[in-house]
């Protein structure tokens, strides 16, 4: 067991699955990235280096560089999945889902259903989410809730390297299309990751911290901010239970509901915009199924309903932070009818 970054964990998952199963291929913009440059065939290895080195071992038939055309990448990958390969396709920025949404939303997600269960679509779409790099409104969004709202898609939002590897291997071995959302600020985050291959089942939340006072459900990068807030709050005598759902579709409803049944209080932390979001979805779930247990209104800590600002000072205000999370927890903890 060694300590690895999320980048290394994802690379290892791809490498091990490509060795195990010749049907696994990688396809996307610059997944090797060096053709026609002085840096050699493997110069880029993905914009963040996750796929670097794969072409050396597996060749260009299995590590397929494409033009900048998301619709072609997703269309080719969906067709390849249905006809027997297990493609891992890269949608570099999830912000560009609009360019290829038909291939994902109306094709890949529907094949199994439209063909009476006779078609399988073992497709993984790796895509970057998240603000915090001043990449402006068109390269900073977290639209996992849009994918989550589509029946037929599974959606993964890992928060650490251990989960990233196990969930990506599960995604590759899964027979349905999976959208795998990687936060662009977390690739260098480290944790202990087994060298062997392993799978984490979808729909199994991770309880990051035990506590009896307030349930905090947080996703992706927000898990770490919630953990920071929980440290501060513990010093004040408020114990948070932090739940990281790990997958938004399927969603581990039981773990959330059982926790709220015990704490009676819920704060949901979500970097995405608030309308029709995961924060809203989870708040509705609890209002619907655990209303009797609630001692205070549910609070959502999310981005505002605006595009992501480019100015660093505004972007900082846009992204939920530990202080806002702590304030929300204090508010529900101190709530009196």
């Amino acid at each position: 067991m060694t300590v690895k970054t999320i980048r290394q964990a994802l690379h290892e998952a791809l490498e091990q699955e490509m060795r195990r199963d010749p049907r696994v291929v990688v396809i996307g913009e610059d997944v090797s990235g060096g053709a026609g440059t002085g840096g050699g065939r493997d110069a880029a290895g993905g914009v963040l280096g996750v796929t670097k080195g794969l072409i050396k071992e597996f060749g260009e038939a299995r590590v397929i560089d494409t033009p900048i055309t998301e619709s072609a990448i997703m269309g080719a990958a969906a067709g390849a999945a249905m006809t027997g390969l297990r493609p891992v396709a890269e949608l570099m920025f999830s912000d560009f889902l609009g360019v290829c949404f038909d291939q994902i939303f109306n094709q890949a997600a529907k094949f199994r259903y439209m063909f009476g269960g006779k078609a399988r679509t073992p497709l993984v779409i790796r895509t970057m989410i998240g603000a915090g790099r001043s990449a402006a409104a068109q390269h900073s969004q977290s639209p996992y809730h849009i994918f989550t709202s589509v029946p037929g898609l599974k959606v993964v939002v890992p928060s650490n390297a251990y989960d990233a590897k196990g969930l990506l291997i599960q995604a590759i071995r899964d027979d349905d299309p999976v959208v795998f959302c990687e936060h662009k600020l977390m690739y260098d985050l480290k944790t202990e990751v087994p060298d062997e291959a392993y799978v984490i089942p979808f729909g199994e939340a991770n309880v990051v911290r035990d506590g009896d006072d307030v349930t905090v459900v947080a996703l992706s990068r927000m898990v770490h901010y919630a953990a920071e807030a929980a440290e501060t709050l513990a010093a004040e005598g408020i114990e948070c239970e932090i739940i990281d759902p790990r997958t938004t579709s399927p969603l581990d409803e039981d773990t959330i509901l059982e926790s709220v049944e015990r704490t009676g209080r819920l704060v949901v932390v979500d970097e995405a915009t608030p309308r029709c979001s995961m924060a809203t979805d989870i708040a509705a779930l609890v209002a619907d199924r655990a209303f009797g247990a609630l001692k205070a209104p549910v609070r959502r800590v999310s981005a505002p309903h605006t595009p992501v600002p480019f100015a660093p000072s505004l972007e900082r205000l846009y992204i939920p932070d530990p202080e806002r999370i702590a304030a929300a927890v204090r508010a529900v903890y101190g709530y009196a009818r």
Binding site: P194, E196, A197, V199, P201, D210, T255
Partner: protein, 373 residues
């Protein structure tokens, strides 16, 4: 300084423990105690357990308050003669802190790490603690466990002797290749391990399935075994909790894992979230589910134990003792009745299938007394 003080320090339980939290003191400052009395309760990220007194004494000074977290080796309390002057205790405490910082750095550098041994193509992981001339001890864990299950025992037994804890094939850090997975295959792996490592004759301590393997080894190579301690061993009767075995093999989610792990213990609070997570992380690795299923099928097909070792154990000329938890819900304590009248059987109250964890102090004393005799 004229008075002889002894420090109680934060113990190290298991490979990954770096610090522990004082949950509560079970004896007040100033109280006298006997050997084996429970002094305090310590919580790690994985488990909560009590620290027992090694010998009789008086708790002169509680240094670590309830709720405080200390690194391994950190000073918890000072014990010594009841009439010790307060000033001398102060000096001891002040002096200890300085000594402890340096010691700890040295200790961290050479913290015992498990090693791998290749035995006839099968990679086996083991952890060795202690050194000395006394006859070594080999610890064999039960089904689904690993060498970490001896975290409360291995350090306590490693005074003046080597204590080896092995991961059986298919378990812990050992190879996932279990062959047929049956008693013969596992016993051969352990025999190969002993032949390669060549520690000379050993005291064998085996828990559950590991107990059955220990008994087989003793019957097949009595010259290699000095004594045999069987803790809730398999192989003494047909009953086995099939719901536990099936549930353990199948569990891939936390909820199912908690349910089966709680069957192992008298006090369900022993099953911490981290312990469950560790089991799940192990079970998720490629090859583990198949290995465990193969072992379960070979040993417990149809929900019954297929291996009967009562004749082999009755035929042993070497000393044998049996330790069992009264509330064992995996293998019934009544199986101990199969032992010959001369074999000491220790049934521990308020313990389930894991007496070596739940009643570690008592089990350690029983083993030490037995192997020192």
């Amino acid at each position: 300084m004229s008075t002889a003080f002894t420090a109680i320090t934060m113990p190290k339980w298991g490979l990954t423990m770096t610090e522990g939290k004082v949950v509560q003191w079970l004896r007040p400052a100033g109280a006298s105690f006997a050997a084996g009395d429970e002094l305090l309760e310590i919580e790690t990220s994985k488990i909560t357990n009590v620290v027992e007194a090694e010998s009789a004494g008086t708790l002169l000074r509680v240094v670590a308050a309830e709720g405080s977290t200390l690194p391994i080796g950190g000073l918890l309390a000072v014990i010594g003669p009841a009439d010790a002057p307060a000033a001398e205790i102060d000096t001891f405490v002040a002096g200890f802190v300085v000594a402890e910082a340096a010691e700890q750095e040295a200790e961290a550098a050479e913290a015992p790490a498990p090693r791998m041994l290749d035995v006839a193509g099968t990679r086996l992981r083991y952890l060795e603690l202690g050194s000395g001339d006394r006859v070594p001890v080999l610890l064999l864990h039960g089904f689904g466990a690993d060498l970490n299950s001896w975290m409360f025992n291995q350090p306590a037994l490693a005074e003046g002797r080597r204590v080896l804890a092995l991961d059986l094939p298919g378990h812990g850090g050992s190879s996932r290749d279990v062959g047929s997975g049956d008693a013969e295959a596992l016993a051969q792996a352990v025999e190969g391990f002993l032949a390669d490592l060549d520690p000379g004759p050993v005291h064998l301590v085996g828990h559950s399935l590991g107990g059955a393997i220990a008994a087989m080894l003793a019957a097949r190579g009595p010259e290699l075994v000095r004594t045999l301690t069987l803790i809730a061993p398999a192989g003494l009767g047909p009953e086995i909790n099939a719901a536990f075995i099936d549930g353990f093999v199948r569990a891939s989610r936390r909820k199912d894992a908690v349910e089966v792990l709680q069957m192992l213990v008298h006090d369900p609070a022993l099953v911490s979230r981290t312990m469950v997570e560790d089991v799940l992380r192990f079970k998720r690795l490629d090859g583990v589910a198949a290995a465990l299923a193969a072992v379960a099928y070979a040993w417990f097909a149809g929900g019954r134990q297929t291996l009967d070792l009562t004749a082999e154990i009755a035929g042993l000329a070497l000393p044998v003792q049996v330790i069992w938890g009264r509330d064992d819900r995996i293998i019934p304590v009544a199986h101990a009745d199969a032992m010959a009248p001369g074999v000491p059987v220790h049934v521990l109250e308020a313990a389930g299938h894991l007496p070596h964890m739940e009643k570690a102090g008592e089990v350690n004393r029983l083993i030490r007394r037995f192997i020192d005799a």
